[in-house]
Symmetry: C2
Subunit: 470 residues, 2 copies
């Protein structure tokens, strides 16, 4: 059992850390984007160096006080918010924002955990490189949180998840010891890979304080197209065709359903779709090409080959960077439209890529037996990762379906897992999906997770209540 922050602990930290490390616990630290959780009390500390993070952790370990690691606060599963229980220390990384080093010739950049994701991208851009992790909240998400949650985003198809973009890690473990793993080696087979254990652990095994990140040469040219496909199976076949024709030059392959476009028309944001009629299904294809391959010509060839096979019926290829941006604005406005409509239940599912059409079909039929919903199913089809979100019909509200929420969620998650998929593709477990993890997780995996948690954090101070319980 953990203790609440005591006056003695406050006094100890106040005496040992500079004044700048202490700030008011405003409501911003206690909210999360979807408004499901509201944090209780906490003692907010924002150290500006790894040594001070370690000092805080050691003090909390000695006092048996829980620690909530806090990055950009953009997580969608409540991993950054503790609602009740013994009052914790909220440890914010917001003052650790240095880019410590950039090695353009090695394609490596070393950033502190509090660096805003967009700033990491900018630092890469400044040396003519790409840091490809990209997601809607990149203007406020911090890289330490991105790594702790193994963030996904729109470029996973080509560049992988956050874990694939990290070559080294510095972290403070639950006993306050500093893990010095900030190497920039591409090969280093010297014992267990603690980096990958920390990544995705959502702050339950320690606090990431800095990371060596992979950069990539910039593509010689970039382009995008919107292509209308008859159905999800055609989208998949087009994806395979794109792989055959363009190889790894395909950066993103996003599926968009007409429901998302309807929502945009209904509640905004106001965006323009370049087709006379909003198509039932379309894909946004983004490419980054090597020298000698002209992006719009490559997309043209893909369109022609797709049309020949009956996989695409219409399409627009961006003729400028601005038009490419406009295509992406459509895709990236959909989550905001979803929020304005208000979902009955949202699901961050993945299934094996080849089973996506079957999943969409079966989930739709199963939910129709519950009620008459509007379904906006969209997302990273190239990764098998669909945001499968269920909404009330026009004129109804999410509250009208409160009694069905649990059933809806269960149907979608049961189906995804039955089909070899996941109930949390990229958002993680946090506090929201702890029950799902305990329900759907492999028992051997759960037992091993608990054993590891107990071994590294015997007092259970790191992000208590998140991910691992019991």
């Amino acid at each position: 059992m953990l203790n609440s922050v005591t006056d003695a602990l406050r006094a100890e930290l106040t005496s040992k850390l500079p004044e700048a490390a202490f700030r008011e616990l405003t409501d911003a630290y206690l909210h999360e984007p979807r408004g499901r959780y509201h944090g209780g009390d906490g003692f907010l500390v924002a150290p500006d160096c790894t040594r001070d993070v370690a000092l805080v952790v050691r003090a909390c370990a000695a006092a048996g006080v829980g620690i909530i690691p806090y990055g950009g606060g953009t997580g969608l599963v409540g991993g950054q918010v503790l609602e009740s229980g013994p009052v914790p220390v909220i440890l914010s990384l917001e003052r650790m924002t240095k880019i410590r080093d950039v090695f353009p010739n090695e394609n490596v950049l070393v950033a502190e955990a509090g660096t805003i994701l967009a700033s990491v991208q900018d630092a890469a851009e400044a040396v003519n490189r790409v840091f490809p992790l990209s997601l809607a909240s990149e203007g406020s998400a911090r890289i330490g949180g991105n790594l702790s949650t193994n963030a996904g985003g729109v470029n996973v198809l080509r560049y992988g998840n956050a874990r694939d973009l990290c070559v080294g890690l510095e972290a403070v473990l639950p006993d306050g010891a500093i893990l010095n793993g900030l190497s920039r080696l591409k090969k280093n087979n010297t014992g267990y890979d603690l980096r990958h254990l920390m990544i995705g652990a959502e702050g339950t095994l320690g606090i990431i304080t800095a990371a060596s990140l992979k950069l990539f040469p910039k593509p010689a040219g970039e382009g995008a197209a919107l292509m209308v496909v008859p159905d999800p199976q055609a989208a998949l076949d087009l994806l395979t065709l794109a792989g055959d024709l363009l190889g790894h030059q395909v950066s993103a392959f996003e599926l968009i359903n007409h429901m998302g476009l309807d929502f945009l028309g209904e509640v905004g944001p106001d965006v323009r779709v370049p087709f006379e009629q909003a198509p039932e299904w379309m894909v946004l294809i983004d490419v980054g090409c090597v020298a000698g391959v002209e992006p719009s010509q490559a997309l043209e060839r893909l369109f022609e080959a797709g049309a020949e096979r009956g996989l695409v019926s219409d399409g627009v290829i961006a003729q400028s960077g601005a038009q490419r941006e406009a295509f992406w604005t459509i895709r990236e406005s959909i989550p905001e439209a979803n929020r304005r409509i208000g979902s009955v239940s949202s699901h961050d599912t993945s299934v094996p890529v080849g089973r996506i059409p079957e999943f969409i079909d079966r989930a739709g039929k199963a939910l129709a037996r519950v009620d008459d919903f509007r379904i906006n199913c969209f997302g990273h089809v190239g990764d098998g990762n669909l945001h499968y979100n269920v909404f009330p019909q026009k004129g109804k509200s999410r509250a009208d379906h409160d009694h069905q929420r649990a059933e809806v969620k269960r149907i979608v998650h049961d189906l995804a897992v039955e089909m070899g998929g996941s109930f949390s593709a990229e958002h993680g477990i946090g506090r929201l999906k702890v029950d799902d993890l305990n329900r759907y997780g492999d028992p051997t995996k759960l037992a091993a997770m608990r054993a590891i948690k107990a071994a590294l954090d015997p007092k259970g101070i790191m992000n208590p209540g998140a991910v691992v319980t019991g």
Copy 2:
């Protein structure tokens, strides 16, 4: 303390497993390629399914008997051989060689752990895909061992290490429980990543029994070139230039020193180098290009741009697949020539890519103070991974330097680690480098490794004596 295999355990296993699982413990199982270790006694079992692997592990756990997991036996650090101590069960994966599934459109293949690496490559080829893990011993190494040791090889620059090529894992943990992680999902953020913990653990946390592996579209065209560079710094600058001009189409970038060519001339194998005079330094560049980019033209452009900058002085671009093969034969014959010469000490070092020239310079000078050696420094320069091998002068033998071996090794490893590098880039720890790990490893990492080992394998039955000790 572990127990030796007892008659009761033999009887139990014999009664529960089919007769085909038992075979004679020939000398082949007790050797390793470099002849440093020779195994003691053992009870050899080769189950043909995961269930039977679990049965063996459970029986050993109950009896407190150690298990040596055995793949292809090609490891270079003695991880597959136990020399002395209580007699273990040697658990060979050689009968688990099924390709369970191939999903060409998802670019995923599911193979059992005993599948020979070359067979995995062939199964990918059969569906017009590439499984890019490639190394000298691919004709006998097994994929489970490749994953357990996080094998590297020649294509890491482009495709990553073995761990980067695995999307899911099935394994038997030290208590005999089966970890069902054989998903083929590209995104699945549901708790700690045990896959990456098992990969690189060298059989000390359990036994990998099957894996979901990543496939890639085949490049539209492939090519290779040998280019003569004035020095290692020029090789690095050429690598950066190649990245700028060709992007991710560069599959391999290997540095070759004249010493390797001298050795080939001296002791064979007999290979032809296409330059009148063996160059002091040359690089082997291999490319796999997208449609629209002709490999030999792309290499030509790289050569010209390199020559303009003074980075290359001569070069040959392969004009056929056979010539490309011939270039690779040079590179791949060097380890055999090394063996025939007989090294004083071999080192699998890595340093940050940008510091390679400094490392070569400083290591050479430091060793010259010990004795007059011949140094063959070659390897995966694109990964910062140099095989830095030290040989006697002609007319002397490795035995003449026996008294210097420890000092030589210490000098090379000290320098690599001091420069932010590794004393084991791709071969792992096994038994050979346990002392190095304890010497050079981050104390926080070592403590965490021991805690994890104790949590998952409290009796210490899994590959005792390898990787983690104390």
